[in-house]
Symmetry: C2
Subunit: 259 residues, 2 copies
Amino acid sequence: MKSGAKKVQDKLAIDKNSVIPIYYQLAKFLEEQIQTGRLQPGEALPTEMELAQQFGISRMTVRKAIGELVAAGMVYTQQGKGTFVSVPKLDNVVFELDNYNQEIKERGLTGKATLLEARIVRANQQLMNKFQISDENTRFLYFRMVLAAEGEPLAYERKYTIYTKRKPILESELQDPSLTKLVSAHSDSMPVSSKKVLQVSVATKEEASILQIPIKAPVFVMEQTVYNAEHQPVGWSKSVYRGDRYQLTAYDGWHSKEG
Amino acid sequence: MKSGAKKVQDKLAIDKNSVIPIYYQLAKFLEEQIQTGRLQPGEALPTEMELAQQFGISRMTVRKAIGELVAAGMVYTQQGKGTFVSVPKLDNVVFELDNYNQEIKERGLTGKATLLEARIVRANQQLMNKFQISDENTRFLYFRMVLAAEGEPLAYERKYTIYTKRKPILESELQDPSLTKLVSAHSDSMPVSSKKVLQVSVATKEEASILQIPIKAPVFVMEQTVYNAEHQPVGWSKSVYRGDRYQLTAYDGWHSKEG
DNA sequence: TAGTGGTCTAGACCACCGG
DNA sequence: CGGTGGTCTAGACCACTAA
């Protein structure tokens, strides 16, 4: 089976005098071996010592290169056995949704956030639940806004934060009114973590009117709760996204960032 | 401002004779300094040399510890300047949806996949588009199935793969019929990457009937395309998930895996 | 027991940044 | 210019695996 030890081709793949780091060159070289199938899933890479000797470099440098591939999920190591090519896992889903401003920029659109309402509200049962408090006199800062691009409404957002500071609402908050900025500006607590839940729903009459879609049209609903260092909720928002304008996309498998 | 250089507390934090690697101890120690606020966002960590001297360890070991924090997104480095505590980014969304079997197991439910139909179909316009082919004689293996838990239907899936092998449909495929397994079993190509698109929609008459929900009830629709090494589509599926039973959750901020 | 990856050291030179 | 992080070396010892 292991006849001739299957050298990993010419050592010309590494230029020790290049400005490009050696570990990076080696990582890309091994990555190519895998992508092209010269190294098959499950197959063992040459040992660290072999690679170091073949390319005339230090073992630590080899380890750094392999570390990159491990981080990328392309190979895995087993102490005492070796380093092996991974089998691509394609069945898990990781969806990314950039925030509003990034989306708008990337699409080259003329985005606009319109503030419909901003006021101080007292606690009600829903807010007391969401913020896990029992003091009925707690006051919240309430933002209600529409996000639009190219003149078309895309999302409707309602945001709440516990109101303690008496700071005026800044111009900048109207441009990019993210929940975390709202919290850090008007609350005593610094937000350090958040939880988001994405659900599917149909537009209510109010939402349909604002988003200019039919009543009961399908929409994404995202609820976000931000917490301070003590794990207490300090901000909550509910955003409704037009189902005909938003989708989540996920790419899976081996994807080299530059290759 | 920098009075006394703010030592990072006692060096008793590191036990060089412990079985726990030094770099790991140091990473956890620095992580704690950040989590508890003794190191504030934007603030500089001690330099690598300072940390190495303070704890009597090698600079390479310090670098490995810092590398862990960088990978976790808690700090970032700037060549020539220093290493700094990150500000938590809470506005990007990364939703994870485990695959069906994992979900069922984690929830401790009795899951079941019921095959409604499995047959060979010829190309139609939709399939020729999805697979980017023009040969009308191409044949596809077509799976249609319902996923259920606790006797309640949860999802309805339709899967296609280019049919080349004449392998019989195995018992195991009926138990865990993931698209990638379907492709690797019945197609000539090995799937190496995939693209998934998640959208919101309303149930058609057929879907409503199968999922036992009202017509036009909101649903998640996920389309998955799997590609071979040559970036050619070799499998395509469309899954419909009940909107009242599925949601995507994302946690954001600093979350140490063990701490 | 021999070979593997995991950790660690004590240096070295470099590119970059700021004053 | 001095200080920072980025790269690299040539060793060393260890824990683990397999024969």
